[in-house]
């Protein structure tokens, strides 16, 4: 019997249904990999402890420290106390919980520690066809390798710890078909910001996005992660990209992938994952990658975004729009280009990987950042840090006048004390420009690592193509 054509989402979903959904009950969905961190797990472990439950599959659970973790070397390696006592308590709590429940922790001084969404792919723990969850909305990142990966709340973290399963309704599917290639100086970050500007910040609600087409196939693995990472900023809980030779080449030889004959068998299974020809998506959106320009946000959600040489739009009778511009200190009908920047943040699960640091370093090499600009470079993981140092990128950054830190989420959400001051403008490679995201009263402009580096040099919002031309 010929099976009806299925999407990749349907294939992974079907493979993980412990109990299929019915009219009255959601499916029981099996989870292959559960990533945990210090901020959204403590309440879940408390529930387990109170109910006398064990972690059902510690072997499918991996913990690390990233969100409230300091990025100053002295506080990680130098014996200095962690400056924020509340952060130190969260870190100790995760260490205690992992020891008590037998969960592997890539701890404070581990050379495999890093942002949970950077280390999963890096270690090869993230693999095509897996269901992956984490108490963090940017879990969508892992979909870049052909996994179904989505963020969950702390109650659900408890469900997965106790049963390795979740109660879920099958989401709808949204195909984003990307044709043509990005132009020079335009990056994956610009592409996803462009997509969000088209789909809207709530456009993907209830859907899993599958990014498809020649424009996506042409992206390398780290670029694909940047795209999938911000699916949640379009409202979609997950984003995914079919695995291909780029994926297998990336994964090959990583420590946690199947080895030997098992690798060959896995490849066979993975090659059957891409959506079948004729598979039906609930919605489809067409994107022309060649039309994408360097993008930058001007407001307080990632959908408030324009090309870097564009003009802030005008909108009548929209109080939220007016409030966003007032918060940002911008006026409708004006350009963002050449606006002063106080802080530049290079890092996060969106743009904290080696290729992001290389792109920024290529712009900064042999140059100095503008006087008065503070630039913080925070590698996505300790492995990224080590690799960057091996190439001398740290020296490029510090010679330019930037700070070079240990890995973590850092200034993306400012939980660890890496903050932007009230009223200051931060040009940030992270994923959210919400009010107060990087500090109370801080004003965030989201852009690519290239734009961040170019703007650090001038102290103003700068089109990286102007610097790259010289």
């Amino acid at each position: 019997m010929q099976l009806a054509p299925r999407t990749m989402l349907e294939k992974i979903w079907d493979e993980h249904e412990v109990i299929p959904e019915s009219r009255d009950t959601p499916a029981v969905l099996y989870i292959d990999l559960h990533l945990i961190h210090e901020v959204t797990s403590p309440q879940a472990f408390t529930v387990l402890g109170a109910r006398g439950l064990a972690v059902r599959r510690p072997d499918l659970t991996l913990a690390t420290l990233d969100h409230s973790t300091p990025t100053q070397s002295a506080q990680i390696f130098g014996g200095a106390p962690i400056a924020l006592e509340s952060a130190a308590q969260q870190i100790r709590e995760l260490e205690r919980n992992c020891a008590r429940f037998g969960v592997e922790l890539l701890g404070l001084r581990s050379d495999q520690r890093g942002i949970v969404h950077v280390i999963g792919p890096e270690l090869g723990a993230t693999q095509p066809g897996k269901t992956i969850v984490c108490g963090d909305s940017h879990t969508s990142t892992h979909g870049a390798l052909g996994a179904l990966a989505f963020g969950i709340g702390s109650t659900e973290v408890g469900h997965v710890l106790a049963t390795q399963s979740l109660l879920q309704r099958k989401p709808k599917s949204l195909a984003i078909n990307v044709e043509h290639r990005l132009a020079p100086g335009v990056s994956a970050k610009d592409l996803i910001l462009w997509i969000i500007s088209r789909v809207g910040v709530a456009g993907g609600t209830g859907h899993v996005i599958e990014y498809r087409g020649a424009g996506v196939r042409a992206l390398d693995m780290e670029e694909r992660m940047t795209v999938c990472n911000m699916s949640i900023e379009a409202g979609a809980r997950a984003g995914m990209i079919a695995p291909d030779e780029t994926t297998y080449a990336y994964l090959s030889g990583r420590p946690r992938v199947p080895q030997g004959g098992a690798w060959e068998r896995s490849l066979e299974i993975w090659r059957a994952l891409p959506s079948d020809a004729g598979a039906r998506f609930d919605r489809e959106v067409e994107i022309d990658a060649a039309a994408v320009e360097p993008m930058i946000t001007y407001g307080t959600n990632p959908g408030m975004v324009i090309p870097i040489n564009g003009t802030i739009p005008e909108r009548a009778n929209d109080a939220a729009f007016d409030q966003a511009l007032a918060y940002m200190g911008f006026e409708a009908g004006t350009k963002l280009k050449d606006k002063a920047v106080n802080v530049v943040f290079l890092g996060s699960c969106t743009n904290g990987r080696l290729s992001d640091l290389r792109a920024a370093a290529a712009v900064l090499r042999g140059r100095k950042i503008a006087p008065g600009v503070r630039m913080l470079v925070v590698p996505g993981s300790q492995a990224v840090k080590k690799a960057a140092e091996k190439e001398g990128l740290n020296a490029v950054f510090t010679d330019a006048g930037a700070e070079w830190r240990e890995s973590g989420c850092s200034m993306c959400l400012g939980m660890n004390g890496d903050l932007v001051a009230r009223g200051e403008y931060s040009l940030s490679t992270s994923n959210r420009n919400f009010e107060g995201r990087q500090g109370v009263g801080a004003r965030t402009l989201l852009a690519s690592p290239l734009t961040a580096a170019a703007s650090a040099l001038t102290g103003r919002v700068t089109d990286p193509r102007e610097i790259l031309r010289h």
Partner: protein, 194 residues
């Protein structure tokens, strides 16, 4: 979880669209290992000034907001971070339901697991509610309806059968999953053989 059947309350209105979970509870209040006491920090950056004093012009600081159990908000409420601290903070403050034309997926899931009702309504109903802050409305779970004052017909809102069953009976999903242990174990054995 306490069973919930009906909720009658006046509303508080925050009309802005895209209210994200960073607004509901800023990240600096997430450096906690419990879920207690978050209501104090609900909407902290809108509610308090730079010195920590309540802003008189913010709706939740007004006398009218006290004892309101239902928050009416603009489209795409609860977008952004998956932090369950957002529904915990709303509940701790005293809210039991959020009404909007669209509620973000992860927030909705987190809300349901804690007995905070996500009520999604059509634009016309939302507009009426936004224009009538303080209106006393009734949410009835068994019928999944919202009744506005003035004797109009109740408005149906989408709520999946299982979520309603859990809320009305005060059942928590973890217990439901644990009861499926045999099937989960069988699934694992089946996959190990494959």
């Amino acid at each position: 979880m306490e069973p919930i059947r009906t909720l009658r309350s006046r509303t508080v209105v925050l009309p802005a669209a895209n209210i994200d979970t960073d607004q509901i509870i800023p990240a600096r209040f997430l450096r906690t290992t419990t879920r207690a006491g978050l209501g104090e920090h609900l909407f902290a950056d809108w509610r308090y000034d730079a010195n920590g004093a309540p802003r008189g012009d913010f709706i939740l600081n007004g006398a009218a907001a006290r004892d309101c159990r239902i928050l009416v908000a603009g489209r795409n409420f609860g977008c952004g971070s998956s932090r369950e601290h957002a529904p915990w903070a709303l509940l701790d403050y005293g809210f039991r339901a959020v009404i909007s034309t669209q509620i973000a997926d992860i927030f909705r899931s987190n809300a349901l697991k804690n007995g905070l009702l996500p009520v999604v309504v059509e634009a016309a109903t939302a507009t009426w509610l936004i224009e009538h802050p303080g209106a006393e409305v009734v949410i009835d779970l068994p019928s999944s309806t919202l009744t506005l004052p003035g004797g109009g017909a109740p408005v149906l809102f989408p709520l999946e059968t299982f979520a309603r069953y859990c809320l009305v009976n005060g059942i928590d999903e973890l217990g439901f999953l644990i009861e499926r242990e045999a099937q989960i174990a069988a699934f694992e054995r089946r996959r190990a053989r494959a």
